[in-house]
Amino acid sequence: MAAPVISKRIHKSQFAVYDERGRKIKLAKRGKKLSRSTGGTIALFLFIGLFAVFMALPMVLTISNAFKPLDELFYFPPRFMVRNPTLSNFSDLFILLQQSWVPFSRYFLNSLIITGFGTLGHLLIASAAAYPLAKNRFPGSQFLMSMVILSLMFSPVVTGIPNFLILSQLNMINTQWALIVPAFAASLGLYLMKQFMEQVPDSLVESARMDGCREIGIWWRIVMPNVKPAWLTLVILMFQALWANTGGVVIHSEELRPLTFAMNMLAGGGIARAGTGAAVMFITMIVPVTFFVISQSRIVETMATSGMKE
């Protein structure tokens, strides 16, 4: 079956379908009921409903556990939902973190520094590079873009060891720069930004160029204000990546580690810390999810242009 190539609306309630050569094939009513069987609809929604429950159960349990008093966490038979919600886990967590060797505020500040600088730097540096790649053609532009696309095809775990060596050559080991600087050059951000910038009309860029605007000015004053949804997407993706990073092997001083590290230590603390562990998991979950809920529509808007061309 050859799909019709163009369909054109000719009246509020009518449209015409043309084939490749532009010959009119037929006229049709708009809003014609699309081919849908009720049985299929019910089956699909049942399927998605079941999976939604599967996806949501662990998250619901995380929330429920965080508000369970200790005796409910160790109740037999185990209960899924909390009966007598309490905030004691959170107050325990707060006390525990205040007593720890490195104060809670220090971990929090570290996380703020790492995610703040890393996210901001990534947004600026990646979008500065994305603009010429999206709008200009020059020797090497396609090669550089294909390198970036190739780098999407493997994950950074592969380069962990050489990265450590490079960071130590740059004297960045055991400083927060070891997490911040590599984040600047994350490839997904550049890729998404470049795809989104291609949507900016060429005429806008051209007219600025006619007015004698330099490339950096076009990027900052013309293109950047037009791609705000993509800013947010880059920020969210980078924020999530850095927020979840514990510092791993590149930071080993306790007082330089981020909050997630401290949280993981508490969450993995076993039975003695079950209550505070549950509170910790709730907090680590709720921060990125809240960010996403707020920015959802903008992110989806950016993702619409994420497709790869052949």
């Binding site: 081919s35 069987s37 996806m55 038979p77 775990v157 380069t159 060891i161 990027w219 619409a304 497709g307």
Partner: protein, 316 residues
């Protein structure tokens, strides 16, 4: 531009339009573009390209970080494939996870996005959050410990004991029969990430008139509509989503370490990533670990390229 001296203008006349065609002239013309690119690509080469080169180079050496690397030829690779039995287990586990979790997650990403797309916008937003939340919630997969905890306070053990299906609690994450299947479940749960969002967004951009035109043109049911209209229109997003899913499916390692332990019982949860971490960060055999990294790199890029080729045939 500086004016050329009279001498030069007389004895070395510029051929018209000659210099504009050379690459160097184009580079000069685009100087400002290169300046915008520079910060990113200097870092990109330092932290992405150079590491791959170094990993390949190191994989032919023995290196313990303290002494200079010694060139040993193919020894690491030979050792890896012929003498290291655990690597075979890791390879097998990684392939099982990649072959099952990768495509399952990919298909689920698309199916959910496709069904969600027909819901009213408000419901769609809620469903998107439900499906996407696990992948962004950091280390919240710890919660699976509560479900499959080894004592009777674990939810699954509790239910099973309550219904009398088992006599004593099962130590799920320490039992070789359960480790890999559980890791698969957790990986699928975690994997509705960027690909899922790309599909949701892509579906919203498909031209509605295409569906109407298709309906007139004799498309009988939603499956035909999916194959002839939706999928071809979404091909760029399908390609992008595949890259995201494949890369994620091969990098499973963290969840294995956190849930099944490091090393896991009888290496039942060992993947190439955990194996690499074992040799790199515990035994400090960096050359050997680099060889493992190179194998993983080739597997990821190879399967990505293969799948891209396959996806070009969608809708034909």
């Amino acid at each position: 531009m500086k004016k050329r001296s009279l001498f030069k203008r007389i004895f070395f006349p510029k051929p018209a339009n000659h210099q504009r065609n050379t690459t160097w002239a184009l580079v000069k013309q685009n100087k400002q573009s290169y300046m915008l690119l520079a910060p990113y690509f200097i870092l990109f080469f330092t932290f992405t390209v150079l590491p791959v080169v170094i990993a390949i180079a190191l994989s032919f050496t023995t290196f313990n970080i303290l002494q200079t690397p010694q060139f040993v030829g193919w020894t690491n690779y030979i050792r890896l494939f012929l003498e290291n039995e655990v690597f075979m287990v890791a390879l097998q586990n990684t392939l099982i996870i990649a072959v099952i979790a990768g495509p399952v997650s990919y298909v689920l990403c698309f199916t959910f996005a496709w069904i969600i797309n027909e819901l009213p916008p408000k419901v769609r937003a809620v469903m998107t959050v439900i499906f996407y939340a696990p992948s962004i919630s950091g280390n919240v997969f710890f919660i699976w410990q509560f479900f499959f905890s080894g004592d009777r306070y674990g939810l699954v053990n509790g239910w099973l004991l309550n219904f009398g299906l088992i006599d004593g609690p099962i130590n799920f994450f320490r039992d070789t029969r359960f480790i890999l299947p559980l890791l698969l479940v957790v990986q699928v749960w975690l994997s509705l990430g960027v690909a899922f969002l790309a599909f949701i967004a892509g579906l919203q951009t498909v031209d509605k008139a295409m569906y109407e035109a298709g309906a007139i043109d004799g498309i009988k049911n939603r499956w035909q509509e999916l194959w002839y209209i939706t999928l071809p229109a979404m091909r760029p997003q399908l390609m992008f989503g595949a890259v995201m899913s494949i890369t994620a499916a091969f990098s499973v390692g963290d969840i294995s370490i956190q849930l099944a332990g490091f090393p896991s019982v009888n290496y039942a949860g060992e993947t190439i990533v955990t194996h690499m971490m074992d040799f790199g960060w515990i035994r400090f055999e960096m050359g050997f670990a680099s060889a493992i990294a190179v194998i993983l790199f080739l597997m990821m890029v190879g399967s990505n390229k293969a799948v891209q080729r396959l996806l070009r045939k969608v809708g034909s």
